[in-house]
Subunit: 309 residues, 2 copies
Amino acid sequence: MGAYLAITGGVGGAKLALGLAKLLGPEEVTFAVNTGDDFEHLGFKICPDMDTLTYTLAELSNRELGWGRADESWSFMSALEALGGETWFKLGDRDLALHTQRTTMLNAGATLTEVTRHISESLGVSHPILPMSDDPVHTRVHTPQGPMAFQHYFVRDRCRPTVTGFEFAGIDNATLNPAIVETLRDVRGIIICPSNPYVSIDPLLAIPGARQLLRACHVPIVAVSPIIGGHAIKGPTAKMMQELSVPVTAGGVAAHYGDLLSGFIVDATDADLDGTLEVPTIVAQSVMVTLEDRIALASVALEFIEQLR
Amino acid sequence: MGAYLAITGGVGGAKLALGLAKLLGPEEVTFAVNTGDDFEHLGFKICPDMDTLTYTLAELSNRELGWGRADESWSFMSALEALGGETWFKLGDRDLALHTQRTTMLNAGATLTEVTRHISESLGVSHPILPMSDDPVHTRVHTPQGPMAFQHYFVRDRCRPTVTGFEFAGIDNATLNPAIVETLRDVRGIIICPSNPYVSIDPLLAIPGARQLLRACHVPIVAVSPIIGGHAIKGPTAKMMQELSVPVTAGGVAAHYGDLLSGFIVDATDADLDGTLEVPTIVAQSVMVTLEDRIALASVALEFIEQLR
């Protein structure tokens, strides 16, 4: 029996990923992570989605902030501010060590996959965390004022600009991580975590051949809606859908993924959508507050896949 | 009346520099600092001697450690260690902000002189701190095992290797900082601080034309001996002299500087050397423990220059 592949981006996806990692061993589930958010900042190569997952699986994530490490200190940032440095992207002292180590290893010639393995193992994470690609892809958000680097949109400008579209710079020259392709050779089912479809999941799907490769596995592909009752739990998903004139509903998300999906999981709040969707849909408690919520939702997703097989 | 120029390297030099800065205004003394110790580490451009002086003049230096910043925290370093990173060069969280800001500004095209001005002003230092050159110079320590990068010798290997000589890689293409040349146009006197002659002072003197330019100012050049009673207060000066078969005495230092010097200041411990040296020599309390010691020694140096004029 092959492993599951879970495709994930930011915080919501990482919550479900933790649930999956609690139910399945390192041989049984592999995480494919968005790298479109990655950027260079102050000389550091920063991979926000990969780090969110790594810290979450290492149970080091900062639940108070919703990003970064728990047990963090901010001496670096306050000293940088005193020196007139750029402080819009908050870098904790411990978090900074991860970026430094990654940047150093990348500069020495390691691939992002190799670096990520080293870092996650150092933090005690045994489940495979795979960047979607070792090639650089940069998400740009299109706005009426022109295109913006994703982190400028997301962090610096706090998602305030109106979104008119997206662009994944470098995607035409990116290849799907060979380790993901390897996982897909004997995959049992694919879970699209409740991450932002446009900026967390689409970058992977936009890698040339990736969408076709996923479908060609002929295993269930199940997505968990990141939209619950017309809102996103976290992040700009709902705002983006509205600005793109897409219905801000779980159905809007299902329609976005289209024929890729074999199954869709919506929250009880959205149970009335169940009958209206073309894809087989089940209802589950999708708001993940406690660890038990995460495990329960992961369990539902896995059972759903088994049903659909 | 022109300004004094003080040439300095590490901790001992910075102590006297602080004394001078307490006696003289920013228009009255300029500090020319060794950059041969500079190196790239973990992607950061690190300038140990410049930072020692900056932190000292900002009264932020860590007196307990003898290097780095006071009020420092070490979260970055401990997290880096957990990630298997290089930890032989200790980088405090606040200190790291300085290296990050410098590296960012250099990468954006600023000169080291411009960056240093920005950083020192941000830290409230108004006296000019000038790198000896904006061109890269790298001190290598020759040993029976081959040449070593200075910080590998000094920090990583704790000065254990035997020294057979020195090399300042890049020196032939380095030019003396134009701002130092400008200071020399109307200089009142030159002080060589009690720094290691071989690795803190010689790099500047080895810049093509620098030694000639200093002498051509026709003002007193006064050095303070870093060797007191056959020992260096701090650092490997005495060990190096021994390994190079140079007498480990203040006289050995004076001989090393040779005809560059117009005057030499030795500690009371070395008063008997006074008569044996060819250069005019005075005796002063050279061990600087308190701020008052630093100011007193600075005062002696300035008075000696006035005597020699």
